[in-house]
Amino acid sequence: MKERFNASQVSKVIDQSLVYQCACPAQVCRAIFELRELHEYQMNCASDSVNDAVVHNTIALATEKAHELMEDCLARILDIEGWNMVTLNMPETLKKKAAKDL
């Protein structure tokens, strides 16, 4: 499965968006990790029959599509919120806003 953001990058976004109420990108990141785990599980799952293999492949394919969608979503919302797309640092304005909202 193609990964636009590696694990370190996804974790970095979550680490900075600590509290659930002010962590929309982190919620997307969490979904990305879950999709990666689901995909990995389906790919590694033992298939006793042809039917089993079809089931796993079907789930894996759907997971890949969902994962791609969520990664696109993450890229878009990070851009909208003004994150530094190279360092993936949260913008200061957003930190101040989150601190105020909390």
């Binding site: 974790s11 970095k12 982190a26």
Partner: protein, 337 residues
């Protein structure tokens, strides 16, 4: 205590904690500060915000567990590979009590924090109660209660020691009662400490004195050595006392009203040996130890030299008991007993 190397998340966390009334939070920026801080700080809970790009920061929790093993630890961790790393580390080192995933939800994080604090507070209260209880009840009673042997008496061989103030009726008339009470407490406290140092157990305080037992290997030596140490200088104290010591079978357990829950029961040690030791104590002069011949024969204390006093008739005993007397203070000062 909050350990977080990131200034922003640290400030968010501290605000969140303060909003819920957790004001007394000590902030730690890095593991390097911990050894010095933990010399004086005794945190109930350590919250560790794990930054995925600093896996080496887990060493902070190793320091916490080494220096303050009683502190509960909560690690806040990003899901995904970071979570796997931290969980594996926790399993390997037992260095984390609770792992909570980011982003934090109020319910999960603050409920866990509240529960852990409650456990810590309850534990502290329990320890404090146990400490107070162990000061009030005889040594051995707590283990009898914990082992639920409330209806079973334990029969074993022991050396029984009694002390008792001589002439206390006159003494209490000579001084204000509060002063007598204070002196008595000081004396009993010092005696109890000596008994514990000789591996004995104080069973009860008997008004002006105490009763203690010694059991297990070396009990005769330890009991007699303790009696001699207690008696040294006892005749010159403001509350002079004598000591009696005997060896034999005793019965230990909880006695009293067991008919209803909450009724008063008391741990005690009873038997003929107990009576014998009490009677010998009653005949001892201030600063004198009267011991049965068998205790002296087994103990072989060497010094001071015992004085044979022959067979002593003891009320309640059909046969006279062979006894010896020690006057350790006289011997130490070179006075011929």
């Amino acid at each position: 205590m909050l350990i977080d190397s990131d200034p922003y998340t640290r400030s968010v966390l501290i605000d969140q904690l303060a909003q819920r009334g957790y004001d007394n939070v000590q902030l730690v920026n890095s593991a390097l500060e911990l050894p010095t801080l933990l010399e004086s700080a005794q945190p109930d809970i350590v919250i560790f915000n794990y930054q995925s790009d600093r896996p080496e920061s887990l060493s902070a929790l190793t320091i916490v567990k080494l220096q303050r093993p009683q502190a509960a630890t909560i690690a806040i961790v990003s899901p995904g590979p970071a979570l796997k790393t931290v969980r594996a580390w926790a399993q390997q080192t037992q260095g984390i009590d609770v792992v909570i995933e980011k982003p934090l939800s109020d319910e999960r994080f603050f409920m866990t924090l509240r529960d852990l604090l409650q456990v810590k507070i309850s534990l502290r209260e329990l320890q404090s109660k146990t400490q107070r209880l162990s000061n009030l009840v005889p040594e051995g009673a707590l283990s009898a209660i914990e082992n639920s042997v409330d209806d079973e008496a334990e029969l074993f061989e022991a050396v029984v020691l009694f002390t008792d103030v001589r002439g206390s009726s006159q003494l209490i008339r000579k001084m204000p009662p509060r002063s007598f009470f204070e002196l008595l407490n000081q004396s009993l406290s010092a005696q109890s400490s000596q008994i514990r140092q000789h591996q004995g157990s104080v069973i009860k305080y008997t008004g002006d004195g105490l009763m203690a037992i010694f059991r297990g290997p070396g009990k005769s030596y330890l009991g007699l050595r303790c009696a001699l140490d207690l008696a040294t200088g006892a005749s010159k104290q403001e509350l002079p006392f004598g000591v009696g010591i005997a060896k034999g079978l005793v019965l230990a357990g909880l006695i009293g009203d067991s008919g209803h829950a909450g009724q008063r029961r008391q741990y005690d040690v009873i038997g003929a040996t107990v009576h014998l030791a009490a009677r010998l104590c009653a005949t001892a002069d201030p600063g004198e130890v009267i011991a049965t011949g068998d205790v002296n024969a087994v103990a072989k204390v060497g010094s001071p030299t015992p004085r044979a006093i022959g067979n002593v008739s003891v009320r309640g005993f059909s046969r006279a008991v062979e006894c010896v007397a020690f006057n350790p203070s006289n011997e130490n000062t070179g006075v011929d007993p």
